[in-house]
Symmetry: C2
Subunit: 337 residues, 2 copies
């Protein structure tokens, strides 16, 4: 793993983005043993300052030379930049925890959700991949059910917030909303279509099979993290005009019959899961309530009477925390344990 | 059916609501043979004026005496008012086409989507029910597939716009959005939770089985309209911060294997369906584009590789037109044909 130290030199690449900023906050919140924090970003953000433990730190330009002396490098950049710079981090001796899709399905790279497959961390060769934000929330909630009753099939439709696209996605939703409420023309820059007051069944590029990259990522990453290729997964991913948190409508078919109370009992003791499920009292997870929370919230748990062993669930998690920066820090906590 | 006439006395109960106003426009657009138009609403809206064919008409108060001489009465009021006033319409000799949930599952009342089960109209005893707006869009798109390949199971998650709750729902979304963008507190009146920048897995009251009324309506109405109780349906209904049109992520399992091209071919000749499906050119149905359209738009048609005979679809229809007023007028057009 990593040499045992009292504290580690930590780099954050993409520090000025939405997930990068969250990362810096979470490192402080969780009191991660940071000896020195190296903030890295593209040329555009070079020289910006971010606060960490009461001190302003200057953001430096990400380069192949950025990683000298770095023990752990968190990457919150796009896949192309991860492919370009992560190997330099590894060559400098850092362990890279990468949040892009670049290495997720690389068989030599562990893809880790610490609540689900922490043992995979030990097999790394310098890079550990952080899964897609939608996959993480679902895997945390479904793994305990899979262990108890074996999940045969998942049909999931997502409601993904614009912060999944970073700060620019949040700005676009805000700007388009203001424009529409003032009867002005909407500028479309970040998404392929208007996102304000609209739902886009389009996240990531389309592949030849008609699915998007995001949809196939959820299919493939779920199998890899759960370490079970027999799980069948059908996915539709949708961007919704919500700032933060991804919600998921999930239908599962299990091998063993589970009542909704069985599922509630299993999830109520599962790590990082909060069962929030008393619908007659209007208690079910909502994106606006889960924002800023570390746990994955599960509600609307109910038996699906359309098949013998079916359950419906509504899963909400903070895509910037558990879906991204928090999961990455939790991987690092395992590394330094 | 109805006595043959050149033109009919038509009443619209709930004329000042979102669907009622749409109704008046559609009667004019389609040149429905209206001899006289009687606009009815609650005491609150009595005296308002609505334009029909270039003339302002005054809205009268809905009462049991409103229907003397009326041939066709369209009801766009809540279920309690439909139960109270529809029988008076029938007693006065009118055929009532009711848009509430009051009579949908009454075995003596036909529940009709003219593209799906027009023959059911003939069996009415004074009342014909207009299905739930979410059910209509799905039934129009799925019936031709059911006829060709027999649908065994449907797993659907909806993205329903606030106009499904009427004008007050649209006002609430607009007001909450403005409040949030001005850093003010949000007033919650119409929905149980904030709808602006949020998704609510809660439409209609919760039942003892954990499902909402809206979800069970979609299960039961789909079977009744498709006239096939063997179809198994799992539903999650979600309110989204969109003003108009309902989108649906639909996964179906068929008895006979269908390729995505088979489905496109069948739907491209189906009545009231537009296949809008060329995702690599960013062509797929969107709520903002389908608003004001009569047809049901279907895209993202792709084989579901998680089962032998599975298809995923993304269905969007205008809940105020095909999902409500237009479907009601089309029923009336069959009545007077």
């Amino acid at each position: 793993m990593l040499d045992k130290k009292n504290a580690y030199v930590v780099a954050v690449a993409g520090a000025t983005g939405a997930a990068g900023r969250e990362m810096v906050e979470i490192l402080e919140e969780r009191n991660f043993p940071v000896a020195e924090l190296v903030l890295l970003a593209s040329e555009r953000s070079e020289g910006e300052r971010l606060e960490f433990k009461g001190k302003n730190r200057t953001v430096k330009r990400l380069s192949r030379e950025s990683f000298k002396g770095v023990d752990i490098a968190f990457f919150f950049v796009d896949a192309a930049r991860s492919l370009e710079f992560a190997p330099a981090g590894v060559q400098s001796g850092a362990v890279v925890i990468d949040n892009s899709s670049a290495f997720c399905m690389d068989p030599k790279v562990p893809l880790v959700v610490p609540e689900v497959n922490p043992h995979a961390i030990a097999g790394h060769s310098g890079i550990i991949a952080n899964p897609d934000c939608s996959t993480i929330g679902m895997a945390v909630a479904l793994k305990p059910i899979h262990d108890a009753a074996r999940i045969k099939r998942i049909v999931v439709t997502t409601f993904q917030s614009v912060s999944g696209t970073g700060k620019k996605g949040m700005d676009e939703l805000a700007q388009q909303t203001v424009a529409l409420l003032n009867f002005k023309d909407v500028a479309i820059n970040v998404y392929p279509q208007q996102i304000a007051f609209n739902c886009l069944p389009h996240i990531g590029d389309f592949l030849d099979n008609g699915y998007t990259m995001e949809e196939m990522n959820m299919v493939n990453e779920t199998k890899k993290i759960m370490e079970d290729d027999s799980i069948r997964v059908a996915v539709t991913t949708v961007r919704v005009p919500v700032f933060r948190c991804h919600s998921e409508s999930v239908n599962i078919e299990t091998d063993k019959k589970m009542s909704s109370n069985d599922v509630r009992a299993i999830l109520s003791t599962a790590p990082s899961v909060i069962v929030y499920d008393d619908p007659k009292k209007n208690i079910y997870p909502l994106a606006i309530d889960v924002a800023g929370k570390d746990e994955v919230y599960v509600g609307r748990i109910r038996e699906d009477e359309s098949i013998a062993n079916g359950i419906n669930l509504w899963i909400v998690s903070d895509n910037l925390r558990k879906g991204s920066a928090l999961n990455a820090v939790q991987i690092a906590e395992h590394l330094v344990r």
